[in-house]
């Protein structure tokens, strides 16, 4: 019982650390690609400390509650995702519950942003929801292909059935793996698809009215969502890792590739992003589902 | 092409004189009364683009000089129609009917020189904030006096604080 409590406290904390480390790494790699020295790796932590010492402005009760709800939702999702052997909420919900609790993230930000009563925020939120719809089409097909391939809806079973190196990526489902890899930048909100928080166009979208500790919470929530998206990929397609270190290594490689893609591509318009997302990734995911039905 | 244009203008408008100070430059000096008809004529001749309206303040002769810069779309020739209006209560006819984009140019000249353009619907202030003085571009406007009156008048916050 005590291990369970430790797991409950440990995994969100670990997720936060990994997420913040990834953000710091992200800024360092992008700086090095620009041939400049770049901030220290722990710079996001310093930013969050500073932001918690600034007096923010609030537009109303929902402005705070929405943000808190989105952060709490991301913590709950982290508890559901098996993370190198530890998965606190193993028994009480499978992939479908993860999928639906992941709705807390965009909805919380959307509600609190809506209260901020600023056109930039609303444009940012409508872009975010459209982009979410865009990448959900292939994402749902991918999840369905893995679920119907392993005949279960609990993610722990999927991870366990990928023991000793026959990962789903190398199994007949490699097409859905490729599709997931193609939509990962959209899910992380990285450069080819950072239409949502475009600083030049809509002055950082939903985060326009966030100052002080609101921005701090927004950054923490962003780090959690990066952790969630990549951990889901590693769990479904790369066998989920025996212990935390292997899991972290796999996540690091995936994140590194994502950062390289981020610093090379310009930002797409929303229609181009949708056309891309509904073309090749969806075709691969569709074939993946057919393969999962045929091969089973 | 420019010579026969010159002859044509002088044939129609008696009191205008046309000269070519340099290559591709044509200056048409006319009276205030015939500006609208000359602009209409030049527009038909192919000078369809009103590039700008500028104004010169000849304070000694007590006159403003309005210059309409026209340009055709297909040749480098640049025409300047110059008219003179007196300084006291300077006002002239608007040319919105011929060139719609003249609205903002006239509004600017009204704000900075004080020339009234009769018929221009919107002559509200464009650049200056909370301005109650002479139009600033006139030669008789003394900027140093204005600065002393508006900016140096405002006390700086610090010494206000020390004294009380």
């Amino acid at each position: 019982m005590v291990i369970k409590i430790i797991e409950f406290i440990f995994s969100p904390f670990l997720a936060f650390i990994i997420g913040v480390f990834f953000l710091g790494l992200f800024r360092k790699i992008v700086a090095r690609i620009h041939q400049r020295y770049g901030p220290p790796i722990i710079q996001p932590l310093l930013d969050v400390i500073k932001l918690f010492h600034q007096k923010g402005f609030s537009h109303g009760a929902l402005f705070d509650l929405g943000l808190i709800l989105s952060l709490a939702g991301s913590i709950v999702v982290v508890l559901f995702i098996p993370f190198g052997g530890i998965c606190p909420l193993k028994s009480s919900g499978g992939l479908l519950v993860i999928l639906y609790t992941m709705l807390f993230l965009p909805l919380g930000i959307a509600l609190s942003g809506g209260e901020g009563a600023n056109p930039n925020i609303s444009i940012g939120i409508s872009r975010k929801l459209i982009l979410c719809l865009g990448y959900e089409v292939p994402f749902l097909l991918i999840l369905l292909s893995t679920m119907s391939f392993y005949r279960t809806i609990s993610i722990v079973d999927i991870v366990n059935s990928q023991k000793n190196f026959h990962w789903t990526l190398f199994s007949p489902l490699f097409l859905s793996g490729i599709a997931y890899f193609m939509i990962l930048p959209a899910m992380l909100g990285m450069r080819p698809f950072d239409i949502v928080s475009a600083p030049q166009e809509i002055s950082s979208g939903p985060a326009v009215e966030y100052g002080g500790k609101y921005l701090g919470l927004f950054h923490i929530q962003h780090s959690f969502s990066i952790f969630i998206m990549i951990a889901l990929f590693v769990d479904l397609f790369l066998g989920g890792g025996e212990n935390i270190f292997y899991f972290f290594l796999k996540m690091l490689t995936i994140f590194f590739i994502m950062v390289l893609i981020h610093s090379v591509f310009p930002r797409l318009r929303l229609e181009q992003a949708l056309r891309y997302l509904w073309k090749w990734p969806t075709i691969f995911a569709f074939l993946g589902v057919i393969i999962s039905k045929v091969v089973r | 092409m420019d010579e026969e244009l010159k002859r044509k203008i002088e044939k129609i408008y008696k009191d205008t004189e046309v000269e070519f100070p340099e290559r591709n430059r044509m200056v048409v000096k006319t009276k205030k009364a015939s500006t609208l008809s000359i602009l209409e004529f030049l527009k038909k001749e192919g000078f369809r683009q009103l590039k700008a309206i500028s104004c010169v303040d000849w304070i000694k002769e007590g006159e403003f000089e309005l210059i309409y810069h026209l340009a055709p779309l297909n040749s480098p020739l640049h025409v300047m129609v110059k008219i003179r209006i007196e300084r006291k209560n300077a006002e002239t006819e608007t040319i919105l009917k011929i060139f719609e984009n003249a609205k903002v140019y006239e509004r600017e000249i009204y704000e900075l020189f004080g020339i009234e353009f009769k018929g221009n619907p919107d002559l509200s202030p464009l650049f200056l904030e909370n301005w109650h003085d002479l139009p600033p571009f006139r030669k008789d406007f003394d900027t140093r006096k204005y600065v002393k009156k508006t900016f140096d008048e405002i006390p700086s916050v610090e010494d206000r604080n020390e004294r009380t």
């Binding site: 402005f57 952060l71 009480s92 409508s126 459209i130 009215e209 | -």
Partner: protein, 613 residues
């Protein structure tokens, strides 16, 4: 306490309210509320008991009233939703005219729905079905103008439906001599499968029209948006569910699902019909700019989930489908009541492009709309999530990933459209003309709060309704589902709502503490906003027009209501045809005499020269 008294109180009560209306409006309002609450109490004391009464003889045909677990569940849902909407309409309809007629018809609809659910034989089923259709028509066209056209469309399609049902009933009577549902269900299994197919098609058309499945859905959007809000809450909350009750009746009691499963084509058609209904109508809802039309299109969409749940003969699917019927009843009527509250306060404005910022003025209505929207989307901790989870599990484990994909994409369509609904009405800048809007009176807040509590309670403790549904499933011949108070425990992926609720609560409290750690925040008004350094005066910063503009450009041509256009083409063709015949059949006597003479001449000619026979 037998069923006959129940029906008498239901119908008699409605008539009495009409009489009280003559006396004084206060007495009538009080009496209407009293009747609906009494009916709720009567029904709830029938829990668990089953009883059949033969109450009338119609030319030696026994009319039977019976109650079992399934009909009890529907009956309690009917009563609760109607009681809440009657309470809501107390102050909503305050300054409208013809209120006696309104309350009378509202209670007649309630009584007829009760009759449908309790009827034991097809004849009384049909009689109450007609009463319900007609009284619903009267209420849909209550406020004149476009509502008349919507009512006409509704009544024409429900007549077609009831005619099909009548043909089905007559064919059953001729082949089996009895109309008693329980006797028929035992004898029908011996009939040939294509006879069963014919019967179920006839009945499914009738219930499909009432249930607004995809090809027969065109009456629903105009009917729901033109009806007065309390009644459109009843209409889309419960009246549509009579169609699903008919589905359950046909699939499980008459045809028996294993029979139906053998007719592979019908089963496959029904599933894909449900999936198409789901996807197309949710995305059409996305494009609507009128709040009630948006919700009406969602009513059609959610029926797709119910169909997907019911037509798979597993106990999970049955539980998911039936549970979703009641979830949809709760959050759909809640959403319609909130729109009614908005209409009440903004004097009839429900266009999504001109509202905004009402959260500051109407917090309780916002809470109701938010909980209703979360229920409709299926956010965890609401009952919508549990029923959708059950339906998805059946779809995936039965090996239909593409149907599950259609359902999941439908969820994302609901998310986008309901966020537009909440954002355009409650969030954003408050326009100048709604500055003095106040919260709705208590009699309108009470149903909104009750329904939100039901949604959250059944979301956190899904065991309560699932136990009842499980007992129905067992009585309908399904293997029992190990249901406990917190959810479903099963080897292939369990659902434990209490754990989810506990973790979310703890996470919320923790994050609130983290939020408290930061510096104190200052509250600012809506005009102190970032506008790149410039100051935006009042009312110049409203911006809720065309919320998903980029998406509309891409999906607008594909998601139109083709069926509606197809039907209007048929209507136009019919009208041109009738115009043409008017030329011939033009009404003055001379022409008719010439036609008769001509006809006789032709006959004689054939007789003489024809030599044909």
């Amino acid at each position: 306490m037998n069923l006959e008294i129940l029906m008498i109180t239901a119908f008699g009560g409605s008539f009495l309210t009409y009489l009280c209306g003559k006396v004084s409006s206060k007495v009538r309002d009080f009496f209407a509320v009293f009747i609906s609450l009494i009916l709720v109490v009567f029904i709830s004391c029938f829990y668990g008991k089953s009883q059949t009464i033969h109450y009338f003889n119609f030319f030696n045909l026994p009319l039977i009233l019976t109650i079992n677990k399934l009909s009890w569940l529907f009956a309690i849902a009917v009563e609760v939703i109607t009681a809440l909407s009657v309470i809501f309409s107390l102050s909503y309809m305050k300054n409208k005219e013809k209120l006696d007629f309104y309350y009378f018809i509202m209670l007649v609809v309630n009584a007829s729905m009760l009759g449908i659910v309790l009827s034991g034989d097809f004849l009384s089923f049909y009689i109450f079905w007609e009463i319900m259709s007609w009284s619903a028509f009267l209420l849909i066209s209550y406020n004149r103008g476009p509502a008349l056209k919507a009512g006409m469309k509704y009544i024409v399609m429900s007549i077609i439906g009831s005619i099909c049902m009548l043909v089905g009933i007559i064919s059953i009577y001729t082949s089996y001599g009895t109309l008693n549902i329980s006797q028929i269900s035992s004898q029908i299994s011996s009939a040939s499968s294509d006879y069963i197919l014919l019967i179920s098609i006839l009945f499914l058309i009738a219930f499909g029209i009432k249930n607004a499945i995809w090809p027969f859905h065109t009456w629903l959007p105009p009917a729901h948006s033109e009806a007065p809000s309390p009644f459109s809450a009843v209409l889309s909350g419960i009246l549509i569910k009579m169609g699903s009750y008919g589905f359950l009746l046909i699939l499980y009691i008459i045809a028996g699902l294993n029979l139906f499963l053998e007719l592979f084509i019908a089963h496959w058609v029904l599933c894909w019909l449900g999936a198409i209904t789901l996807v197309i109508s949710t995305f059409i809802a996305l494009l609507q700019n009128d709040a009630k039309k948006l919700l009406a299109w969602h009513s059609i969409g959610q029926v797709g989930y119910i169909i997907l749940g019911i037509t798979f003969g597993t106990n999970l699917g049955f539980a998911g489908g039936v549970f979703h019927i009641f979830n949809h009843a709760t959050f759909k009527s809640l959403l319609f009541l909130t729109v009614g509250a908005i209409e009440y306060r903004t004097r009839g404005v429900r266009d999504l492009n001109s509202l905004g910022g009402l959260i500051k003025k109407m917090p309780i209505t916002f809470f109701g709309a938010l909980v209703g929207a979360c229920g409709l989307i299926g956010i965890p901790l609401t009952n919508g999530f549990v029923s959708k989870w059950l339906i998805y599990k059946t779809l995936i484990l039965k090996g239909h990933p593409f149907l599950a994909f259609a359902a999941l994409i439908g969820t994302w369509g609901t998310i986008l459209s309901l966020y537009k609904f909440i954002h355009n009405i409650f969030l954003g800048q408050l326009p100048e003309k709604y500055k003095d809007v106040k919260e709705v009176p208590f009699s309108m807040q009470f149903p909104i709060v009750i329904l939100s509590l039901i949604i959250i309670l059944f979301g956190i403790l899904p065991g309560i309704p699932l136990k009842v549904i499980n007992s129905i499933a067992v009585s309908a011949g399904f293997p029992s589902l190990d249901v406990s108070i917190w959810g479903i425990a099963s080897e292939k992926g369990a659902l434990n709502m209490i754990n989810i609720f506990a973790t979310v609560l703890i996470a919320l409290v923790l994050m609130r503490l983290v939020f408290q750690m930061g510096e104190k925040r200052t509250r600012i008004s809506q005009d102190n906003n970032y506008a790149a350094g410039s100051y935006i005066p009042v009312d110049k910063y409203n911006y809720t027009v065309e919320f998903y503009q980029p998406l509309f450009r891409m999906i607008k041509p594909y998601f139109r209501d083709f069926v509606d256009e197809f039907y209007s083409k048929i209507v136009k063709a019919g009208r041109t045809l009738s115009d043409r015949t008017r030329k011939i059949y033009c009404g003055d006597l001379g022409y008719y005499v010439t036609y008769i003479v001509l006809f006789l001449v032709i006959l004689i000619a054939i007789k003489l020269w024809g030599k044909v026979w």
